[in-house]
Point group: D2
Chain length 366, copies 4
């Protein structure tokens, strides 16, 4: 099926394989009149670029974005914005061996089961490079949100056994692991060094906090805001868990401990005294901070010996060579942020049509 589009009104369509000509995205439905230049997008892409530290694959990829359409004289025109990133660091020989067998934890086997064959070079469409399109599109959504005063903070919450114990927003960009806690970042770094020595890899968690979101976004039944966030997060390869607010731990909570009391703020507005709900009630944003977490599995490509089978069904032992990150989490931080921005931009636009009084604000026929 056609499974490469995301969103209803603010919609992206991504394309591209790891070792094809390039990776790209078409952003359709962005309102006209948003200021936009390549640097807005490049700044996001740079956050997922490899080779920035020793925990990231040493491949040199420029990942320079080109805006091909939809922007005129510095503003979006309301027509589709096509973005292209050429692949420039393809070493197809690195990957020729994996054409013959199924790497554990990868999509090699399932692609063959689905399509009958696969573009095996660097994982093809299931490569992490696929996320370039999401990040490029998400950068535009984030720009729109920012113009409305909505900001997203995304960071590494834990790596293997190391969880942050303090939060310093500025620190997020001071360490290569995007942790808001310098001490935790140091410990996590030590842990990752150990993983690499053991030819192994590590999982981790990413947390995301959105500020400035108005109440009313999301729809009551299937298009709940949290449902679309959950889909967005699980659409990112390697995500195995998603929780909002108190998340999985609500299972052992009680109504008294889990309910958030409504209160009146000094300015007369209504708020909640706590935020166990994570900013969503009944699938609709409640005006509190939106808070959620995802769990990312360890990089499946490891140099340690593993058992698997080849396409002939013979059991073999393999050691995966090549340039692989020992952890996916730090580079996935901006992917989580981008998908979040896409969900929120779409929900903002969709909510405009929820009430007759909104409609009268736009169509003023006197």
């Amino acid at each position: 099926m056609a499974g490469s589009s995301f969103g209803t009104i603010f919609k992206i369509t991504t394309w591209g394989e790891s070792h094809g000509a390039g990776i790209g995205v078409v952003v359709d439905g962005c309102p006209a009149g948003l200021s936009l230049c390549e640097q807005d997008i490049q700044a996001y892409l740079n956050r997922r670029k490899p080779g920035q530290n020793r925990f990231s694959t040493p491949r040199k990829e420029d990942d320079t974005v080109e805006i091909l359409s939809g922007v005129f004289e510095g503003k979006t025109t309301g027509t589709p914005i096509s973005l292209l990133v050429r692949n420039t660091s393809q070493r197809s020989k690195d990957y020729s061996e994996i054409s013959s067998y199924y790497r554990p934890g990868h999509a090699d086997y399932t692609f063959d089961a689905k399509y009958g064959f696969r573009d095996y070079r660097g994982g093809g469409r299931s490569s992490g490079r696929e996320t370039i399109g999401r990040v490029a599109g998400g950068a535009i959504a984030a720009k729109l949100l920012k113009e409305l005063g909505i900001t997203i903070s995304t960071y590494t919450l834990s790596i293997g056994p190391v969880t942050i114990s303090s939060y310093d927003e500025e620190e997020i960009y001071n360490n290569p692991l995007y942790m808001p806690d310098a001490m935790a970042a140091k410990l996590a770094s030590d842990y990752l060094n150990q993983c690499m020595e053991e030819k192994n890899s590590s999982g981790g968690r990413i947390e995301c906090v959105v500020k400035g979101l108005p109440a009313g976004l999301g729809d009551p039944v299937f298009e709940k805001l949290d449902a679309n966030l959950a889909k967005a997060m699980f659409s990112i390869g390697a995500v195995k868990g998603f929780e909002i607010g108190d998340g999985m731990s609500v299972a052992s909570a009680t109504g008294l401990s889990n309910n958030d009391a409504f209160i009146k703020l000094e300015d007369g507005s209504i708020a909640k005294s706590t935020n166990h709900a994570g900013g969503i009630l009944g699938g609709i944003s409640d005006g509190s901070e939106l808070v959620f977490r995802t769990a990312i599995k360890p990089t499946p490509s490891i140099a340690a010996l593993q058992n698997t089978v080849n396409k002939s069904g013979e059991e073999i032992e393999i050691s995966i060579k090549g340039r692989h990150d020992p952890i996916i989490v730090p580079r996935a931080v901006v992917v989580v942020e981008s998908m979040t921005a896409l969900v929120l931009a779409d929900a903002l636009l969709l909510n405009m049509t929820s009430r007759m009084d909104h409609i009268h604000k736009i169509y003023d026929f006197k």
Copy 2:
């Protein structure tokens, strides 16, 4: 927006409020030629019916389903199947009080924020009764899956502090909590009695295991099978966490411990020696059992005193009266199963078009 439809090819559209004339669903895209009668659907609805034990609201609701269209001489015709359940146990006076204030943990406030006002009777569209449409539609999807040899087991994994420690499939239907472990069911029952005495409520977890699913379902990027399951689960009110396979715990795993080795079975087919992945790789089913869990928050309607504000913004104290389950989990088990069936039926149909050899099997032009 139009947010009451779910699915692409096998699609349901639900409607109805707690205290309106009824609840219903239109199932569109069900293939022609599936045997179907009202009893197939009623059996599913009976599993979510209230009043079956002391942990469930004593409301008497018949919830009898009527097939209004789409079935002829005992078989689906390929045209939309409309199902109707009349509301018969409406006591609107029970709910009149809540029109004036915002119940903690409920969608009262967010509905007002979104729509400007709300049908406050029994929660209106955000009532648990909304799930009747999902279950009625899911029963049809499950029938289709069963005809293809695909079966779904869903059960209560934990209630408050009590988690199952053994698994007996038959036991699931022997206790009112739908737990596959009689001992755990006894302990959970004691715990719920205690919650009720304290005018409190409890959360819990539901687990779902699917057997017989072929490899190849789901699409690589945004329409990953796990992404659609995540959306389906979070579209159920009260769900706050979702995990597939090892779930959130992958964050502290390593590549060596988390990867599943491929092996060759005696019949020559390829399988995995473990199932940390929960049956999905790269968003596509891998032929193993599909395994996932959801966390359900405690019933927000509790009789204990709570603080909140009314529509005028005054802070007040409330005690929610009326007929409320002290736990949502047991009645949500069949909702989880129904949403799972809907996701899988849609994925099965969508995957038919993935390969040219499939197409030649259907269109044989000699």
Copy 3:
């Protein structure tokens, strides 16, 4: 596939067969706060009701609509509006014969080809009764448009060889053929009498004019306003042609004769001196009247002898008995109007998100 939904934001899903339990529609995405009662919808349904004159089947169908959800205290709530019309005039024996053969001009053969069998009673899902759901949904869309000052006039333009030569809006509802020209209505009536004597039937054309539509509705490429109108019209059974503005005759026009000059009105606004375009330029409404026509084929059910084959492939001669209109056009007038209202309501809502300045009007974050 799931083919019974229409619209993106303002969406209807229809269901029901001629001789099933009933016909219905779910209207999803209607903004909250629109005044609505059953009479608003019934008034539209009455316009398509049969048995109102001698050119319409003498079946007595009450076609009384029930609102099952989505309206509270006289206003739409923003949640799905479910409408039900019970079938009450089913004489299944009338139709038993047609189960064995393929009626010319009907969908009997194609339903069998597609689904393997069919609900043959009264045409099943391909019956004209299917349009009840469209009209019920369209009545709500028309109510929304009217609140914004947008009105739709739909009428019979021609019947067989008789075309209107004058236009009197009030006359439309004075004659049973919905013609705005009393003289033409008289001639058409004579022609239809003659058709009936000859056991034959007639085709005709319907014209639709929309006033008060703002410029800017529709999108430049695939979601052109005229493209969606064309789809809407061709989704009505029996429509074989659609033209907007000068329509098919543009083929023999020149640029000089077909272009509409822009002019400045006294109030300073911009308009067009002519309207060959029919109110749409580049797929987007231009602020002029929207004008289009559809051609409706003659009723295929005729009492005259016809050749066809039965399901065994034997060639036979048939004469179709039962209660059939000698012309579809008059009853289709309100169907055309309803589908038009649905397209326009959706386009109005979708256009709200086209510009950043619109978005700032809704989300005012001080």
Copy 4:
């Protein structure tokens, strides 16, 4: 809104403006295993290329297509196919003047009304160059259809007052007007010369005939095959009328003259003795030839003097300079064919899921 995608399962998303960096399309949902190379697509693009005769703009555009993704070792992989055509013949100065006024018959005014401003260079997104994406995508759909034995013939039926009076399939590609009648082509050529002398332009009609289409494609209600064809045709700029089979003329036909009798062929299969219906009954293909026509308005850009207003609302006189075709029809022939192929490929894939016996053919679980 996001209006640049077309199709449900076999879906294209187009992007690009006349004077931006390029034009492109993402084809998503194409089944894996279809042989495909750039030449397959280039052959279609060459049919719409300008500068091939004196009735086509003398701009030199190479319109060379590059496949950026989705094809591996000469076969489609099932993942999105991204196609790029760079714009190489941009003379922005040609168009600077039109930024200040509204050209009659063009979308200048409606774009401003919708978006607040526009990319005025060469018509921006409303340029005929937008169709490059459709043709590139349609070429892939046509390749898929051809592998199943389905072929499409599209040709110019009339230009101004000249209509073909004979049909010779080979002649279509022998004259620059794509007419299947050499005599008519000669007359039409004379007529166009006269139009050009008068600084005027001409409209015309395109006819399309599809052979080899199986019965059963399309869905009964809103997704009728003819409804999707109508939308596809009206999504092409300049189309003002669409008719299938006998089209608009059914309005003056009778049931006896318009019904097609079913007959039995010598091989035992069922067919129709005539084809007034144009190959579709009840929205579903009936196994006959699919036959339809579109009317294309005259090129609105003409050198003759025209009245219009500028953005300040002043009435002015203009003469449109630059390189413009005196007729759109010949270059639109391949656009009509491409959109047809897209509709049919999607309908073919969607119909695979219509029956349980189809499903059992794909999922054979023994």
